[in-house]
């Protein structure tokens, strides 16, 4: 079982950044750095930092919500490598309720995740989709199926423990 826990402050930081309109991209992306720790039921992933992506790192492409350049991918790889971090690609679906990865998301993540897994194979890496009040996450790793596995429980901890998944 995989659990993801972030502070409410960090969650709000992510939402605030990702909901900003971009000059041409339909959505924004960012990276969430997490520490991975062992627990009896599997792994607990603890978010500690969010890294926003600059406007000029996006590439015009109307077939997807957001396409970013190689520098962005290298930024993510560098974070995973240098900090031995579990890295989540994060984006927002602008609705309430539990979000799901679209087919495009799933296809793109299948291609992106090996970049992070290859530079930091001892950690899980994943995709986190936020909605206005819930979240969905999937992780990939060397010991997992190529399609990844769902994160079982996502919580934000602030003035309460909110179950987001």
């Amino acid at each position: 079982m995989i659990r993801l826990r972030v502070t409410t402050t960090l969650l709000e930081t992510m939402l605030m950044d990702l909901r900003r309109p971009h000059p041409f991209a339909f959505e924004r992306i960012g990276f969430l750095c997490c520490t991975q720790v062992k627990v009896p039921s599997g792994y607990l992933l603890l978010g500690y930092r969010y890294v926003a992506i600059d406007d000029d790192r996006y590439i015009p492409d109307k077939s997807v919500g957001a396409r970013f350049d190689g520098t962005t991918i290298r930024t993510g790889m560098q974070l995973a490598l240098a900090e031995r971090a579990t890295l989540f690609h994060v984006h927002v679906h602008e609705h309430t309720g539990v979000p799901r990865m679209s087919q495009v998301d799933a296809r793109e993540m299948q291609q992106l995740m090996p970049c992070f897994v290859n530079v930091c194979p001892e950690r899980l890496h994943g995709a986190l989709v936020l909605s206005m009040d819930h979240a969905y996450a999937r992780v990939w790793g060397t010991a997992l199926e190529t399609t990844g596995i769902d994160v079982s429980r996502i919580t934000s901890v602030g003035d309460g423990v909110r179950v987001l998944s």
Binding site: R3, R5, V6, T7, T8, T9, L10, T35, Q36, V37, K38, V39, P40, S41, L44, L46, G47, Y48, R49, R153, T155, V157, G158, D159, G160, V161, R162, V163
Partner: protein, 263 residues
């Protein structure tokens, strides 16, 4: 919502599910922790992690909920008494009992959504808070003591909620170098602290109330911490003014202070 929980349906339409899916850690299953365990079982918490290395003694019978005279005879572990009580109230719960110091089962404690600290020293509270901050876990501490003032016993207690982004025990003036130093000087000489069942019960109830508020958000209240003071002589609970003077940002734990320490 099952019939079992209809009387607490005001906690929210999905509160029974939230409580059933939650994992609560209780460290210390003596006078305070045993009360906490009993109440969490009644309210429908689905998974608890119990930590206490001690076995029952005769002097515990004045306050340890669920303990019997027969348990004293065979010196049952305190976690086993709590496990037995919990499952007798809520048979479908998952109860994990660790008859050891929590540090020896530290991986298990990380899974807790909320940790309730029922330990009896400042040093132990400090250790638990460091751990709670590392794993982004709300920590609720309860404690009581009896002081002599002009030969008159004066009984007080506190319940403090420490949240990952909020002021910590040091910010709130509860943990200081001075009280840690004084406690260390008395190490091994202090003996058993005075404890009574009704004061333990009041403090445990407040801790459970905070836990349920954290998990369900039923009051829609926003808070960065909580610090309640219990005057057990006057039977009065007040909010500590120290909350008003806590710094906006905790200077003792950085935001990226998470995960396992690297040695």
């Amino acid at each position: 919502m099952t019939n079992r929980h209809t009387r607490q349906s005001f906690l929210g339409p999905n509160s029974a599910d939230l409580l059933r899916d939650a994992t609560i850690g209780i460290v210390g299953l003596g006078g305070g922790g045993s009360h906490v365990a009993q109440q969490l079982a009644h309210i429908g918490i689905g998974r608890v992690l119990l930590f206490d290395p001690d076995k029952l003694e005769l002097s515990n019978l004045n306050r340890l909920v669920g303990a019997t005279a027969a348990d004293v005879e065979v010196r049952v572990e305190k976690v086993e008494i709590a496990r037995r009580l919990f499952l007798s109230i809520n048979p479908s719960a998952e109860v994990y009992a660790y008859a050891s110091q929590w540090q020896l089962a530290a991986e298990a404690l990380r899974e807790a959504d909320v940790v309730i600290s029922c330990v009896d020293s400042y040093a132990a509270r400090q250790d638990l808070e460091v751990n709670a901050r590392r794993f982004l876990t709300p920590l609720i501490d309860i404690g009581m003591d009896v002081h002599l003032v002009d030969e008159q016993p004066y009984m007080t207690g506190q319940v403090i909620l420490s949240l990952p982004d909020g002021p910590c025990f040091r910010c709130l003036g509860f943990l200081t170098d001075e009280n840690l130093r004084q406690e260390a000087e008395l190490y091994g000489a202090a003996g058993g602290r005075p404890q009574v069942v009704w004061a333990n019960g009041v403090l445990a109830s407040l801790a459970v109330g905070l836990t349920i508020e954290l998990l369900t958000g039923w009051q829609r209240r926003s808070f960065r911490a909580e610090y309640l003071h219990f005057d057990a002589n006057q039977h009065v609970i007040t909010r500590s003014p120290r909350l008003d003077y806590a710094p906006e940002n905790c200077g003792h734990f950085a935001a990226d202070f998470v995960g396992q320490p690297v040695l």
